[in-house]
């Protein structure tokens, strides 16, 4: 799995805003099997899963931290390092692939100066690949936050990332 962050790049947060965290956890009091839903809410709140938050979740659910980490690192959509303000996801689904998605991803890497899976040093952008967004008829597709950009080309992604975003 390509999601395991290097220790040097991990933003290790010793403490996390416990008030915000406890508010989230309270909703799940007594719920069976809520680990993934909790992690999803925590990520929604903090933008990623801080280490300290994971420990608190483990305490709350009375689970060993290793199990929480196991689940957090199993699923692609959980991030253990801080993400950028904008998430650029380049679809690498089959339809997108045959229409040049790899070149688009590489161009994006070039424009942002980072590799796939990384975040720019100023925490403005994160770049990731995603398996399939289900917009195959409009391939190649790039998702910037919640906005779908369809029929992308190498030139369009270059323009989008160098001119149109901020």
């Amino acid at each position: 799995m390509c999601g395991w962050p290097k220790a040097s790049s991990r933003v290790s947060v010793k403490t996390v805003d416990t008030e915000r965290l406890n508010k989230i956890l309270a909703v799940f009091e007594g719920e069976k099997g809520g680990l993934i839903s909790i992690l999803q809410r925590v990520q929604e709140e903090f933008g990623y899963l801080p280490e300290a938050a994971l420990s608190s979740v483990a305490d709350f659910l009375k689970l060993p931290p290793s199990q929480v980490f196991s689940v957090a690192t199993f699923y692609d959509r959980f991030y253990l390092t801080r993400r950028g303000d904008h998430l650029v996801s380049v679809c690498q689904g089959t339809a997108c692939h045959v229409l040049g998605a790899r070149s688009i991803l590489e161009t994006a890497e070039n424009c942002l100066g980072i590799k796939t899976g990384q975040t720019t040093p100023d925490y403005k952008y994160s770049l990731q690949r995603v398996a399939c967004l289900g917009s195959c008829a409009l391939a190649p597709v790039v998702l910037v936050d919640d906005e779908v950009h369809s029929r992308m080309t190498v030139r369009k992604i270059k323009k989008l990332l160098t001119e149109d975003l901020d």
Partner: protein, 633 residues
């Protein structure tokens, strides 16, 4: 309808009749597709423009604007249908709106340029059903997509929504429902094709009072988006199917597992559930028949393997999505150890249709072994890209050429990949194969969820196999050593082959590994991921050999085996390619013949694309040039 509750079967009928009677009499209707595809092409702005213009011109009493779900023809979007004539307009922009209002809605005249034009014959089509793409389709599951507003439950009720549920609850026993489903011959549409009736019967007969119905909305196959369209465009049919399943099986809890990559689907399903509950169609004593049912949504977290039943269950239980051996089957021991029926989205919508029209009606559609219809997502190198629902038994040729319009740009058909990462490639000589579970399996592929990727001569078949193995080894949960290690090794070998580092004997090793992975994996992912490799070797072995022994990629795709070159005798130094190059790999200036720096070139082909046709100065050749190095393939 504020505060109204459907307390009996009779009150549903009354509501339906009241709603139909209360419909605006002129019938002038603007239906704007607001599925994810058209939305990304700007359909929301088009809809707002219509609403704005109609309000300004004070035509609100005469003309209704509504949004609908996905028509399946996303490439031509934004799609708009003008009623009552049902004229189908493609690629509508905000600027077109005033004209459509003044010409079509007010004067009954057609705006020719917005009609679909057949790319070969040039003929224009007025209605959706005239378009070859739609003519041969039999839209049973997709019946309401593009017709109803997926966020207004009354729209669904008007088109016989929940009538099947009413019939089931008032006229049939649970066993009777199961018999009807068995009679229909419905097979699971998620890919395995297991008879739905038998699955339900197993769950019904399993001991225990607590049972579950799970709708599998984790459509993970890249290239497949039929479930997305249905979840977005007709969420109510899914709810109804689940409720019928719950009644038949004896379950009172339903869960819809939706992948997180489909936010609009999640939104529409949540709205549908809330509206159904408000009307009393979910909750306790539904329609006064003593039947309780509740549905909740669980979002996926980005794992293809969670489409597998037992992994999906693990995910709902808050664990990592690692499949477990079967038996015991989920129908006997599933969620929280209780009997659980997991059905695909398409299967559940079929259930609603069968319950209303009868199992016999359904069994007469399709073929004897594969009844009903199947939705395929036709993508890739084909003219008409989109969702196609056809009777089982339709041939691949009909789907790709008659409905899909064939291969664009005069290129030649090479193969069609069916079933996503678990499927295989089918070559030209088998195009007359009728689609069916067994027929596709015999050819070395599978039906799968219905993804159909069309490839032409410019698609490298080895690259496709490599692509699927890249996907597979990334998504493998890792617990079975042959799958975990085998897929990685197979990927590495394919990577080597596409980089020009293939060795004699590689093909044999790939086949040996495929065998091991298939046999020794405990779940469907491991058992099927070798399929793309095995089938491409079976039908396109020559291409593998060309890569390995000749360093040649005939489709001009594999980066390490191709290079782009500027023909200096044709270059007019116009700077177009230089400017367009995304990585600044072209050296030159105005009046100075350009040259590509091979060490920087990412082989994207943009230079060839922008070079003016009359110069035709850029060519792509296969064979390694000095200095191009080994890019990260």
């Amino acid at each position: 309808m504020e505060g109204y509750r459907i307390g009996t079967v009779e009150s549903l009928r009354l509501l339906r009749e009241t709603l139909i009677a209360g419909e605006q009499t002129t019938g002038k209707l603007v239906s704007v597709c607001c599925g994810s595809g058209c939305m990304s092409s700007g359909s929301e702005h088009v809809r707002e423009a219509f609403a704005r213009e109609i309000k300004e011109q004070e035509l609100e009493d005469e003309i209704t604007v509504k949004k609908t779900g996905c028509h399946g023809f996303c490439e031509r979007g934004p799609n708009v249908i003008i009623g009552p004539q049902n004229i189908f307009y493609n690629s509508v922009t905000e600027e077109d709106v005033p004209e459509i209002i003044s010409e079509t809605l007010l004067e009954d005249r057609v705006v020719e340029r917005l009609l679909y034009e057949d790319p070969v014959t040039g003929q224009k089509c007025l209605y959706e059903n005239d378009i070859p793409f739609y003519k041969k389709q039999k839209r049973i599951v997709l019946k309401n997509c593009g017709i109803i507003d997926p966020t207004i439950i009354e729209d669904y009720i008007k088109v016989d929504g929940f009538r099947a549920l009413a019939k089931v609850l008032s006229q049939m026993t649970p066993e009777g429902v199961i018999e009807e489903i068995k009679l229909s011959g419905l097979r699971g549409r998620g890919g395995a094709g297991f008879p739905t009736g038998i699955k339900w019967e197993t769950a019904r007969n399993a001991p225990g009072k607590e049972k579950y119905i799970i709708c599998n909305g984790d459509e993970g196959d890249p290239g497949a988006f039929m479930d997305r369209s249905v979840m977005e465009g007709d969420p109510y049919s899914i709810l109804e199917g689940m409720m019928i399943a719950g009644y038949a099986v004896g379950a009172s809890q339903g869960i819809i597992y939706v992948r997180a990559e489909y936010p609009l689907a999640v939104h529409h399903l949540s709205t549908a559930i809330a509206q159904a509950a408000d009307l009393g169609l979910l909750g306790r004593n539904i329609m006064g028949r003593g039947f309780d049912f509740e549905i909740k949504i669980v979002k996926g977290a980005g794992a293809f393997v969670c489409g597998e039943e037992t992994a999906l269950i693990a995910s709902i239980e808050g664990r990592s999505g690692r499949p477990r051996p079967k038996p015991p089957f989920p129908a006997i021991q599933g969620l929280w150890g209780k009997p659980t029926v997991i059905n695909n989205v398409e299967t559940l919508v079929n259930v609603s249709r069968i319950a209303l029209n009868g199992g016999e009606w359904y069994s007469k559609i399709g073929t004897a072994t594969d009844t009903g219809t199947k939705i395929f997502s036709l993508v890739g190198k084909v003219r008409n890209v989109g969702l196609v629902e056809v009777e089982m038994g339709t041939t691949l040729r009909e789907i790709i050429f008659d409905i899909g319009g064939g291969i664009p740009e005069g290129k030649r058909f090479k193969a069609v990949q069916t079933g996503g990462p678990s499927g295989g490639c089918i070559p030209e000589e088998l195009l007359d194969l009728p689609v069916g579970y067994e027929s596709l399996a015999k050819a070395g592929s599978i039906m799968g969820s219905g993804g159909m990727l069309v490839m032409d001569e410019s698609t490298c078949i080895v690259n496709i196999a490599r692509y699927f193995l890249d996907f597979a080894q990334n998504e493998s949960c890792g617990q079975c050593a042959p799958c975990r290690l085998g897929t990685k090794q197979m990927f590495k070998i394919l990577q080597d082959i596409t980089r020009g580092n293939g060795k004699p004997g590689d093909i044999e090793i790939l086949l040996e590994l495929s065998d091991a992975v298939k046999q020794a994996s405990i779940c469907g992912l491991g058992m099927t991921v070798p399929n793309p490799v095995v089938s491409t070797i079976r039908y396109f072995r020559k291409e593998y050999e060309e890569h390995i022994h000749e360093g040649r990629c005939r489709a001009l795709v594999c980066r390490s085996l191709i290079s782009y070159r500027i023909k200096d005798y044709r270059c007019k130094a116009c700077m177009k390619c230089l400017t367009a190059c995304p990585v600044g790999a072209i050296i030159g200036a105005k009046w100075q013949v350009h040259e590509i720096d091979q060490s920087k070139c990412i082989k994207c082909g943009t230079c060839m694309e922008v070079c003016p046709k009359r110069f035709n100065a850029v060519e792509c050749v296969t064979g390694l040039m000095e200095g191009s190095g080994d890019k990260s393939e």
